[in-house]
Symmetry: C2
Subunit: 271 residues, 2 copies
C-alpha cells in the first residue's frame, strides 16, 4: 500500500499497455485521452506487456492495462473507461462532477446514475465489438481464421442479418429518445459511450462495407452515422486522426474478409 | 428530470426486471442483494419486460434491468454491479466509502481504484460466463443448440482445454497474490467479484462436471474452489440457497450437454 510522494504522482502520467500494430481494445482508451487532450504514453512492448499482466495485485487477465499516475494498474476496457470518464470530462455533465467530492446526496446520486448510464452504453458498444470479433473467430481465438472459416461464414450471416440491425437499431433508439440532444447518447456532451460507438461503427464500416452500405440505405440508422461523423470532427479526435497516429484497422478485432460480407439477404434485417 | 418526492423514494425499493425460470445474468444482481440482506422485487413478467426495455431514456439493449428506488432504470450487468457495489457494501473496504461523500482526494482516489478493481474482476468473471454460453451457441442465439451442435462440439473442446484453465488459473493467481486475504479477490471482504466468481464456478460445475473434476484433481485451483465454498456458506447467501428461492441451472447460460463435457484431452490444460 506504499504510494510514491504526492509530487511524483503529479509529475507521472498515464501509461497504456497494449499490443502494438492494431487499434484493438486499447483504442477505446486512446480515444478517451485524445478527445480530452490529456497526454498518455502508448506502450506496446510485448515482453514488458506479459510481465505487466502478472506484476500487480490483482494481476490482469488480458490487456489493455492502464497504469495510473500512482503506479497502480487497472484492466478490463469497461472498468478503465468508467474509472477515467469523470477524470477526462467524458461521464456526462452530471457524471463529470464525480471528478471531485460531491457532498449533496441528491446531486451525487444523479451523478452516479449518469456515470452508470454512460458505462451501460459503453459496455453495449464493447459487446458489439466483441461479437464483430467472434464472427471471424467463432470457435477459438487459439486457431487461425482459415481453420474456422466454415463456421465463420455461418456466424457472419447471422451477424449481418440479425445482430447488426439489432445493435445499430438500439443505438438509434437511444439517440432518438435523448431529449437533451439527439446527437449524443447521454446528455448533450461527448462521453466514453459516444467514443466507443464511433469506433465500433468505424470498425463495422471497415469490416462489412457492403452490409453497412445496405443498412445505411434504409435510412434507419441516420443518427448513428451522424454521431460517427460528429465525433470524427471533434477537436481532439480530429487532430488525432489527422496526425496519422491512429492505427489502421487490419488483422485485429475488426477484419475485412469479403466472403463474410456477402449481401445475400434482404437489407432490412428483422429486428 | 422530475423525481418523486424524497419520502416516496425511501419507501420504494429496487426492482429487478429479468426473464423468469432461469438464473441467467439476473442472478449476479440477485446475489448482491441477497448477500447484503437488502430487499428487492424480482419481477419476471415477459410482457412487462419488453416494455421496460423501451420505456426510459436511455432505453436498454437487454435485461437484466434494475429499477432504482428513484424509478430510474439501469442495464448491463457490469454497470449495475458497479453502481450497486458501494451501496451494498460489496466494493471492498475502501470502495465502500463511496456510498457517501469522500472529501479527501487521496482517500477518494484509493476508494475509486478499489471499486474499479472489483469491477475489473467482476467483468472478467462475466466474460467467463459469456464464453460458457457461447460454447453451446457458437453461431447464433437465434438458433437452437441442435442446429449448431457440430460447431458447439468444436468450440467446447477449446473451451475445456484452453479457456477453462486460463480463466480459473487467472483467478487462482489473483487469490494467491492478494496479501490481505487469499480467500477474497479484493481486500478481505466479500465483493461483487467474489459473488460473480462463486456463481460462474457453480455454473461450470453444473455444465462441465467431468472437466471440472479433472481440473480440481490437479490441485491448481484450490483457492478458487475454496472461495466458491466460502461464499456459499456466508450469511445472506446461505439463507438464499436454503430458502429454495435460488433458481436451478437448466436451459440458460450454463447448460449441461454431456457431449460437450467429454474428457478427451490431458486434464492439465496448457495455460
Amino acid at each position: 500500500m506504499s504510494s510514491p510522494p504526492r509530487k511524483v504522482q503529479k509529475l507521472a502520467g498515464y501509461v497504456l499497455h497494449y499490443w502494438g500494430g492494431i487499434p484493438g481494445r486499447g483504442e477505446y482508451i486512446r480515444l478517451a485521452f485524445e478527445h480530452a487532450g490529456v497526454p498518455y504514453v502508448d506502450a506496446s512492448d510485448p515482453a514488458k506487456l506479459m510481465k505487466t499482466l502478472h506484476s500487480s495485485s490483482p494481476p490482469h487477465f488480458a490487456p489493455p492495462i492502464l497504469e495510473l499516475p500512482s503506479g497502480k494498474l487497472l484492466s478490463q476496457t469497461g472498468a478503465i473507461l468508467n474509472y477515467l470518464a469523470p477524470r477526462l470530462g467524458l461521464a456526462g455533465e452530471k457524471g463529470n462532477l464525480l471528478k471531485g467530492a460531491v457532498e449533496d446526496d441528491g446531486v451525487r446520486e444523479e451523478a452516479e446514475f449518469e456515470r452508470a448510464s454512460v458505462s451501460q452504453l459503453s459496455l453495449t458498444a464493447l459487446d458489439l465489438c466483441h461479437e464483430a470479433h467472434d464472427v471471424h473467430h467463432p470457435i477459438a481465438v487459439s486457431l487461425y481464421y482459415e481453420d474456422q472459416k466454415a463456421e465463420a461464414l455461418r456466424r457472419a450471416a447471422d451477424f449481418r442479418q440479425m445482430r447488426m440491425p439489432k445493435f445499430l437499431g438500439h443505438f438509434e433508439e437511444v439517440l432518438a429518445k435523448n431529449s437533451a440532444s439527439h446527437a449524443h447518447l447521454v446528455g448533450k456532451t461527448t462521453t466514453t459511450a459516444d467514443l466507443a460507438l464511433f469506433h465500433v461503427v468505424d470498425g463495422l464500416l471497415f469490416a462489412f462495407p457492403r452490409r453497412m452500405a445496405a443498412l445505411q440505405k434504409t435510412g434507419k440508422y441516420d443518427r448513428v452515422i451522424a454521431l460517427k461523423e460528429r465525433v470524427a470532427g471533434e477537436g481532439g479526435i480530429k487532430q488525432y486522426i489527422e496526425s496519422g497516429r491512429r492505427q489502421k484497422f487490419g488483422m485485429g478485432l475488426f477484419r475485412h474478409y469479403p466472403e463474410l460480407d456477402e449481401e445475400d439477404e434482404p437489407a432490412e434485417g428483422q429486428e
